[in-house]
Amino acid sequence: MNQLEPIHAVRLTVNGVPHEVEVPARRLLADCLRHDLGYTGTHVGCEHGVCGACTVLLDGAPVRSCLLFAVGVDGSEVTTVEGCRAADGGPGPVQRAFAECHGLQCGFCTPGFITTVTAFLREQPDPGAEEAREAIGGNLCRCTGYQNIVASVLRAAEIVRSEPGR
């Protein structure tokens, strides 16, 4: 890297933990999360916004972290797949549903699905199969053929709805 490249301080709260990190202006949020902060659950697939593997929640809304610069989201709250776990540290409801329904095979695309589906179920807690299919339309999976992912979304909705305290 060019030693003369200016460095910027960026504050990010990732999965509830505050961080301050120094990055060049060109650093993508996906790379900042992975390389600078060690949140390697965020996967980088296509790097041009098509595959959805790098999807994280920015202030609660799903976004492509490969299409954002870290300096541009200074001060934001980010949720990665690591932040989608249950309160006791075990797999969260969406993660459990994917495991139960065989919604993953190689697992590379899964973090993007987990974050996308987590946000989707907050807006639509009781989706039909067609809505579930549309909700994951921006995420590519090369293994499963999607049928089990759709089933996982519907199962995740059941689990979330059945959780006490909702």
Partner: protein, 273 residues
């Protein structure tokens, strides 16, 4: 700042088209001018004359806005078809206009409603009508040093119904062909005006006046296949890896007929209120 960087700078708003271009090294401007902190540009403002959308309104904001929807339902009809929700959370309405992709929805909407783009530079501002704004594929009338601060989408005349329809391989993909259509009925619920703007069938959005094919006909029995044939003769599709020109022309006719009938029904329901 834009004046300082001139040709060597690009404005960054949502970045959902610009950043992929950078990531693929298809462009390498020396400077990016990030406008995301200019929160005063993050608005969707509805007035009786129409909807004004600021440069930082995300697609998701435009899509969700209830007042904008009441005045110009076409905005939600079209914006809901822009890519996926994840992209709409970040990409901006005005950015989509400036990007001027002939496959994009918002440029066609702006053309259809005779909208305008407000541009500002250090030396002053100007307002460019849609018909002059879209110059070619990925080329708008925006000059170096200018910032598109807002777009105006005028409300259509009363008795107007609209529809958006497109065909793509997968939900959220670029349309192989798509159109927005606006149909205006007279007091007897007969067709007085019909216009459509098409995407992915020309270098810019293609605006076609369909009035001659349907004028004077009852709203529920108009000759929409005639209108479709008229439109198919006006568009300029090209072959590419996704579809042949002939297939796109076929879609133009079929989608025109479907969308026209839907917009006429929509006009009739808005008429009754």
């Amino acid at each position: 700042m834009l004046a300082d960087v001139g040709d060597d700078g690009k404005v960054l708003a949502g970045g959902q088209s610009l950043v992929p271009i950078l990531n693929m090294r298809l462009a390498s401007p020396r400077h990016l001018v990030d406008i995301n902190r200019l929160r005063e540009l993050a608005y969707v403002r509805t007035e009786p004359e129409g909807v004004r959308v600021g440069a930082l309104a995300r697609h998701a904001d435009t899509e969700a806005d209830p007042e904008a929807h009441a005045v110009l339902p076409l905005l939600r009809q079209a914006t809901g078809q822009v890519a996926h929700r994840t992209i709409r959370n970040r990409g901006t309405t005005v950015g989509s206009l400036v990007h001027a992709d002939p496959a994009a929805e918002l440029p066609a909407v702006l053309m259809l409603v005779d909208g305008e783009v407000e541009l500002v530079a250090a030396t002053g501002g100007r307002t460019v009508p849609a018909a002059d704004f879209f110059v070619g594929p990925l080329e708008s009338a925006l000059r170096a040093g200018e910032l598109a601060v807002a777009a105006r989408f005028p409300a259509p005349p009363s008795g107007t119904g609209t529809a958006w329809l497109e065909v793509s391989r997968r939900a959220g993909d670029y349309a192989l062909c798509g159109l927005g259509i606006a149909v205006t009925l007279d007091g007897d619920r007969r067709m007085s005006r019909a216009r459509a703007a098409y995407v992915s069938v020309g270098p810019t959005p293609v605006l076609v006046d369909l009035t001659e094919a349907v004028a004077g006909q009852p709203y529920d029995a108009a000759d929409w296949s005639g209108a479709g044939a008229l439109a198919a003769g006006r568009v300029e599709p090209e072959d590419d890896i996704h579809a042949t020109a002939g297939y796109r022309r076929h879609l133009t006719a079929v989608l025109t007929a479907r969308a026209g009938a839907a917009a006429a029904r929509h006009a009739a329901t808005r008429h009754e209120r």
